[in-house]
């Protein structure tokens, strides 16, 4: 049986699933319910001098009839007093001593202010500290959040102040709104950070109401850019995590954040080197209960693959990402269409023809229909619904011309109908780097 117990930079927890700092971790009452549902840890809604929020605060991108492919927020840090938050941290830790409670912090960029909040958080019982250098909206206008994270020297300096007094692990949360995230990660490391979390939300405007012409979310007829998260951002988050994880100058544990909605995404972040993952949008969409399948699904996958602990597979995909110049130019695949399962939608044909390399053909274009009439006999009706795909609608791949781009395979709606088959070229592997150095 898989063992999901995790040790993140010295913070122990029953599983790697943490709630990210945000609305689901706003209060002790919520976090205790989350722990009851199965979450292994929670990063408290960022604590600092209480702010005033606006309404509305969230907006989303729907896709293909599904809600919230991506979510955007303009909510600031906690609107409750520091004392209230710290008192509740103490309460939660008393009742849930084995779960991870991490205090997310954001205060004015003054050394003594940081010293004070760090000491008070630790006195309350926090297992670790997460420095919010990533929040991209509102707070950044006041010199906090991503305003710190975007300037590596500031990030290094404030991390240093925190480390002067911290007794628990210090996690620096990075913003993706920066040209090269490795510079910020290295700066945090220089400042003494024990771990990193990435990514915070991405600067975004989700859309515009085409009746009022007001972008969303609408606050009295105006809007403001927010932070984007949810399933849509996972590919960006995975890339940035990979950048940090493979950078030899960083080398500290990572808590992966960005579009984790289930166990599969969690496994992906861990395969790219993360020790824990943090979830916010999915919990906002469906509630804390989603963690049940995360734990169950990850455990089942680990059992199937023979991994006993998170460490058994953590980082295994990191070496499988390289620079383009090291890819094998002589590796070749071609598309093959299974004529038995092809349903004749011909999406691969038009995708290849218009969007790729013009090597999928319809050999026998159907004759233009003469006069179509309603069938009246039963055999015709049966043919219409139950018959095999007409041969004229099954496309053919010209393998000699196929460049193996994958597009047809990606658009085919039928599982395993198009496969990409390896072709033996007989040539040894050769990368662009090898070819141009030769």
């Amino acid at each position: 049986m898989a063992d999901l117990v995790t040790n993140f930079a010295g913070i122990r927890c029953p599983n790697p699933f943490w709630l990210a700092s945000g609305p689901p971790t706003n209060s002790g009452e919520q976090i205790m319910r989350a722990f009851d549902a199965g979450w292994g840890g929670a990063v408290w809604k960022t604590i600092g001098e209480p702010i005033v929020n606006v309404s509305s605060r969230y907006s989303s991108v729907d896709w293909n009839g599904q809600r919230m492919m991506g979510l955007n927020n303009i909510e600031l840090i906690t609107d409750r007093s520091i004392d209230t938050n710290l008192r509740e941290i103490a309460e939660v830790k008393k009742r849930y001593p084995h779960h991870a409670v991490v205090a997310s912090l954001m205060v004015d960029s003054k050394r003594e202010v940081w010293h004070d909040i760090v000491q008070r958080s630790e006195d309350a019982g926090a297992d670790g500290l997460e420095l919010n250098f990533g929040c991209p909206h509102g707070m950044s206008e006041r010199g906090m959040g991503s305003a710190v994270g975007q300037v590596p020297d500031y990030a290094c300096m404030i991390t240093g102040w925190v480390k002067e007094v911290a007794r628990t692990p210090v996690i620096v949360k990075l913003t993706p709104n920066i040209t090269d995230i490795r510079l910020a990660a290295r700066a945090a490391r220089r400042g003494g950070a024990d771990a990193l979390s990435a990514i915070n939300t991405i600067n975004s405007i989700t859309g515009i109401d085409l009746d009022t012409l007001t972008p969303r979310p609408n606050v009295g007829g105006l809007s403001s850019h927010g932070g984007y998260c949810g399933p849509a951002v996972k590919p960006i988050a995975l890339h940035l995590v990979q950048q940090i994880a493979s950078d030899p100058e960083v080398g500290i544990p990572i808590s992966g954040i960005g579009g984790v909605s289930g166990w599969q995404e969690a496994a992906e972040f861990i395969l790219l080197g993360c020790t824990t993952v943090q979830v916010c949008t999915a919990a906002m969409h469906y509630g804390y209960r989603i963690v049940e399948d995360m734990i169950d699904g990850l455990g089942n996958w680990m059992d199937e693959k023979g991994y006993r602990t998170i460490e058994d597979f953590r980082g295994l995909s990191v070496p499988k990402i390289t620079e383009w110049k090291h890819l094998d130019l002589n590796y070749r695949i071609v598309a093959r269409i299974n004529r038995d399962t092809c349903i004749g939608c011909d999406l691969c044909y038009i995708a290849c023809w218009d969007g790729a390399h013009q090597c999928i053909h319809l050999d026998k274009p159907a004759a233009p229909p003469a006069i179509t009439v309603t069938p009246v006999s039963k055999p015709a009706w049966l043919r219409a619904t139950g018959g095999p795909t007409p041969p004229a609608r099954i496309p053919r791949v010209d393998e000699a011309e196929c460049v193996g781009c994958n597009l047809c395979w990606l658009v085919c709606p039928v599982e395993n109908c198009i496969t990409m088959a390896k072709i033996e070229t007989g040539r040894p592997a050769e990368s662009w780097a090898q070819r141009t150095n030769a």
Binding site: G344, C345, A366, V376, A384
Partner: protein, 434 residues
């Protein structure tokens, strides 16, 4: 419009709401050169109109539908989609439900606002009389108007729309929806005149006043049984039965109803009798279940409605009691050799007569031809036309719909009407096919 019919005949398939329409629209694969479009007699660009529902472009969606089929609303309700677009959906081959094209089309037609059909590029300056106010004529007239021709529709009924107004089962299409379509065609500039051509207006007069005449008169009254007692009170043919319950508030069905015939109209009448309150509805057909011409889904639906089916029974007489129909006498049949269409011919079994009591008999034996007054070449009982252009043996006359095809679906009539309009407009087409 009979208010009680709203409750007696609720929609067979409920309309989509906005969210479910978008979800269903997004299920559409957007096939290239889609089979559903090929299967539609009017070739509506189905993936295109569905995609527009998904993007929230309802006006564009409705325009896409109407561009190919001016009766897109009624077709969305009455088309036998299982044997047309939805029957051709590729998802059948992937163990999935086909896209609900009919319901999506209805959603677009009922919810789009500000629909405007652009004029066609090819102008037409001639005048056309469309005889008959049903789907074929409406389609022909609308297409001609888009080319700029001047069109007058002649219909002898108080309300235009033909069978869409008077003859379609109420749970599929209501007269008000049919009349909405008539109003749309009228708004395009088509003139409507209530007049019986051949009586109030002569064909000679039409020939003088108009450059072309489109015959879209449909079929005539239903065939009589031709049996003793078929004129008795209590005997009413299926089309008259349907027309009356749709138009007469006090129309009463019988308590025990016998429907004679195995086609879709027989089933419509039998189902209606159930919903109108008949206690027992029996449908008798002289062949077996297998030979019944009704669509399988219509048959399945009718069984659910509670109609009882009786096979291999040929009526021989209607029995009178107190001056009304009181029973039908049947002979049992057996199936003999296949006829020219491959259906086995029923042969009555001598001495097998039996009697079934009833208080209403609804024969549904198909319709008679209405075209006796025309001096046009006929083809198997229908007006002979060049199918791609609808042109008849007289180059001034075009024809389409049931009077040509012998009685098919609304969508077939729409396709015929459109082709005839294009046949008049497009001289190349007429030369090539004429």
């Amino acid at each position: 419009m009979i208010p009680r019919n709203l409750e007696r005949f609720p929609d067979l398939h409920p309309a989509f709401d906005a969210q479910s329409a978008v979800v269903e629209a997004n299920r559409c694969l957007y096939c290239f050169d889609a089979p559903c479009t090929a299967a539609c007699p009017t070739h509506i660009d189905v993936p295109r109109f569905i995609k527009k529902i998904a993007t929230g472009n309802l006006r564009g969606s409705a325009q896409t539908i109407l561009d190919a089929n001016i009766l897109g609303l009624s077709c969305s309700r009455v088309c036998p989609v299982d044997v047309l677009c939805e029957g051709a959906c590729v998802l059948h081959r992937y163990n999935k439900q086909p896209i609900e094209i009919g319901r999506l089309q209805r959603y677009a037609m009922e919810n789009a606002k500000g629909v405007v059909l652009a004029p066609r590029a090819q102008p037409a300056n001639f005048r056309v009389a469309c005889v008959g106010g049903g789907p074929a004529s409406l389609s022909c007239a609308a297409e001609l108007r888009r080319h700029g021709a001047s069109v007058t529709v002649f219909d002898n009924r108080p309300l235009p729309g033909g069978l869409n107004t008077y003859g379609v089962a109420e749970y599929k299409l209501r007269p008000s929806d049919s009349l909405r379509e008539v109003a749309m065609v009228r708004a395009m500039g088509v003139e409507f005149r209530q007049a019986a051509v051949g009586e109030a207006v002569s064909l000679e007069q039409l020939e003088r006043e108009f450059d072309f005449i489109f015959i879209g008169v449909g079929l005539g009254a239903m065939e009589r049984l031709g049996l003793p007692g078929d004129h008795l009170p209590g005997v009413i043919d299926a089309l008259r039965f349907i027309e009356r319950y749709k138009t007469q508030p006090d129309f009463q069905t019988g308590r025990t109803v016998i429907v004679i015939g195995g086609g879709n109209t027989a089933i419509d009448a039998a189902n209606a009798a159930v919903r109108l309150g008949a206690e027992n509805v029996h449908l008798f057909y002289r062949r077996s279940e297998k030979e019944m011409p009704a669509f399988p889904f219509e048959y399945d639906h009718s069984k659910v409605e509670g109609v009882r089916f009786h096979w291999m029974a040929q009526p021989v007489a209607i029995v009178e009691q107190d001056g009304r129909a009181a029973a039908v006498k049947f002979l049992r049949t057996r199936l003999g050799h296949p006829d020219s269409q491959g259906r086995r011919t029923p042969e009555p079994i001598p001495e097998s007569v039996y009697e079934v009591a009833c208080d209403m008999v609804i024969p549904a034996l198909g319709q008679t031809r209405l075209t006796a007054m025309l001096h046009l070449e006929m083809d198997g009982g229908g007006i002979a036309v060049d199918r791609p252009t609808g042109r008849t043996s007289n180059p001034k006359y075009y024809a389409g719909g049931d009077c040509v095809n012998g009685g098919r679906e609304v969508v077939d009539a729409v396709a015929d009407g459109k082709r005839a309009a294009l046949g008049m407009v497009n001289p190349l087409g007429t030369v090539k096919n004429g």
